[in-house]
Symmetry: C2
Amino acid sequence: MTYQLYYWPTIQGRGEFVRLALEEAGAAYEDVGRRGDGADFGAVAEVLERAGVAEVPFAPPVLEADGRLISQTANILLYLGRRHGLAPSDEAGELWANQLQLCVTDWVVEIHDTHHPLGPSLYYEEQTAEAARRAAVFRQDRLPKWLGYFEQVLAANPAGDAYLVGDALSHVDLSVFQVVAGLRYAFPRAMVALEPDYPRVVALHDRVAARPAIAAYLDSSRRIPFTEEGIFRHYPALDGEP
Amino acid sequence: MTYQLYYWPTIQGRGEFVRLALEEAGAAYEDVGRRGDGADFGAVAEVLERAGVAEVPFAPPVLEADGRLISQTANILLYLGRRHGLAPSDEAGELWANQLQLCVTDWVVEIHDTHHPLGPSLYYEEQTAEAARRAAVFRQDRLPKWLGYFEQVLAANPAGDAYLVGDALSHVDLSVFQVVAGLRYAFPRAMVALEPDYPRVVALHDRVAARPAIAAYLDSSRRIPFTEEGIFRHYPALDGEP
């Protein structure tokens, strides 16, 4: 089976958490919006309006699999985790991985909202003053809190601190890699100052980046660069640049 | 087995989505922070710092069950849904219910952020101007979008529009009930104007409220009133009052 992934073709966005899982799994998938290296926004928009679908998705990413449309990033990763060994196979372990993935979801909302504190309906340029205030609070309070949480989870893992869940890679490790990579892009000054306090999280990022399938993916044209259209945006004013 | 629920004792908050599921299921549970009708914040804070816990929770609500701590509202509902018939038993149906519950999660963040657009680290009183801007956008764009989405899901349900998932009550129906009830409290003017456009969502709210276990719960002292400390806060300025 070839999965169909529907996500905006010019940004990493929330689709990237799914792409990383598919790449690590070596799964056959088509990134529908990027067919032939193009940018087919229409094909992605279409899936939200497809006639006769009972399980209507709210927004991309959407994964078409087994004749169904599956949406919500963490829900897609729950589904893929089971099929590709990217989560423990016992219920307690699967729920623990899901719980951590939902923490990533919350963290990503907070990161997004540093540049969109008034919500997704307005452009960044319409909310720069509010964004500066929110980003300052984020850098000071929330960023250390989240990094510290995942550092604590790694330190508390009875199987060692190589992975977040047990002794094997899971979708959560891939997602935390992506968040760290994105934070380094968006908040380079803040991250340089903070990273020494969270050595396990930094090591996890590096461990994931070095996995053969991930390294090959990051080096390929399938990996879309970070831009100021996605979740992780580098606006110097939001990184505390004077 | 008696579940232990750890959540802040004086607000509905995210814990309420769990309380509603436990009440509907008729499950034995102790609302630890409210032991003896008290308000034991310390007992809730303690669970976040409990020694020797590998599966560290980030924040309440936390459900203690089977000797484990389970956190993240949607994750707790995934767990409870399986055990108490509050989700389909087949994988596709369970994932669909989970997907919708994650939409509720997103919606609740947006509702919360109408009064906290700069994030959870500051008080509302420190961000009233930003809140007024965000709430106006929310009322105009996002509230109709979310209500319209759940209306569409009900209309598209092949089993009829009585429930969101299949032909039986699920945790998602309970959660959408709670959101509608909260929105009526927080945005009474906006909801009076909008509700006629979303008759299936309104009917779902009423159907859930009339269920014997839920009606009994809502009428009991276990149901904490809405207040300006929770997710759903009635600030007239945010409801567009002149």
